[in-house]
Amino acid sequence: MARMKFLCDADRCIECNACVTACKNEHEVPWGINRRRVVTINDGKPGERSISMACMHCTDAPCAAVCPVNCFYTTADAIVLHDKDLCIGCGYCFYACPFGAPQYPKVGNFGGRGKMDKCTYCAGGPQADNTGVEYIQYGSNRIAEGKLPLCAEMCSTKALLAGDGEIIAAIYMERVTKRGYGSGAWGWRTAYKEVLPV
């Protein structure tokens, strides 16, 4: 099986936020939740970079490690998903996640924030694939249809790549050798505990 990963090429991202919009539209993500967001660092200064960030579907996922009810699971494609029927909304995954991926539908207290929501890599949840129940809880399941995540698919500059780790690493390596200098493959070191071979 493939090992699915995200890669954001910070030299290509133009902060158009199309990935954010596509994600919200595809999954009917409620107000207040952004499964994907674009962060600009060094804004307005030399070396400004924009990075599109969502759940990185970590190898050794911190959210899964700290969850008190053990509601996370990793699919055969190494996508980290969670069961909203088991989640109690405690917020521990948010404290542990290095990328700020877990979010809550309500601004409430420790008990009233609702079930955690995060990027599913367009792979839905534990419900039967592409059913109404799955759509309401987790959004659409493009992976089950043989498609890749929409955010990366419609990225206009192809800064955001999604797919099998080896394939997107090869694409990125080719870009870097062409350019002659490397930039950030954001989050790779943190999420996958490996450095891109450039």
Binding site: T40, V69, G100
Partner: protein
Amino acid sequence: MIRALLMAALLIATPALAQQAPTAQAPAPIPFNDRGQLSAAELELQAALKGERISGRVSIPDAAAANLIQPEGRDWRAFHNRTLTWIGGIALVGMLCVLGGFFFYRGRIRIDSGPSGHTLERFTLLERANHWMVASSFIVLGLTGLNLTFGRFLLLPIVGPEAFTAISQIGKYAHNYLAFPFTLGIVLMFILWVKDNIPERADIDWVKKAGGLFGHEHPGAGRFNAGQKTVFWLTVLGGGLVAASGYVLIFPFAMTDIAGQQLAYIIHGVLALLMFAAMLAHIYIGSVGMEGAFDAMGSGQVDLNWAREHHDRWVDEQVTKAKAHMAPPGAKAAGAD
């Protein structure tokens, strides 16, 4: 002859060698705006090594989303999964072993001079009601808190995921709402008992004699002995800090950012587990550990001999107070004779 052949071979081979050598491609110049700036990968690594957050600007209203990477999450994970589990496990199992061992060694501490049959009031109804409000909420808070730390490993395999989520969900609501009676009780407890819990010189003597736990000596004490004073200050100060950090956690991001939330969790978890372990000893000595002790918080009336053995100076005070309200010896009722 050989030399000439070699020279010829070398001459033929040289162009081939020159052709094979790769033409060294000049690397593209670093773009202007990258001069003096660390590459993104390097920035990520350095921040991770220093444990720093990388944040920037977002165009969505949620300002917290501007945090790109917060490596502290991994420290928090290590605390939650390893440190806290070990502290809690050692404190709780250790305390249970100590108490079990003590019971085996000493058995139930009896009233040495036997019950007298006379009683005096030790705690008023208000004091007892407040004590049990704090105690009952503390036990539920403690058990539901332990469930969040240890339940995944101890309870989840037994009851299954659906039932465990139901238990944890109810437990979480109980944990939230019982925080309020607990805090109120702590404040009342402080007001009611602080005047009897000021440390004094006699406490040193009590501690030196280990409170008479290992013998039949009874070091003198006022209304509260040094052990009880320790429990009082643990409850008021520890409970106060646990409550304060708990309110930070109940209202996430209302008072602090993610680093503050993580710190609040660490304070809350460590103190709560240590308090729970300390309260196990309090529960032990107040119930099975000592004859006559439970009455103080049960009916509020304690046996005179028990009181004389454990709180001699308090009994003297009570007797003096009672005598002040009594008629002097030899006084005659009006209209007598």
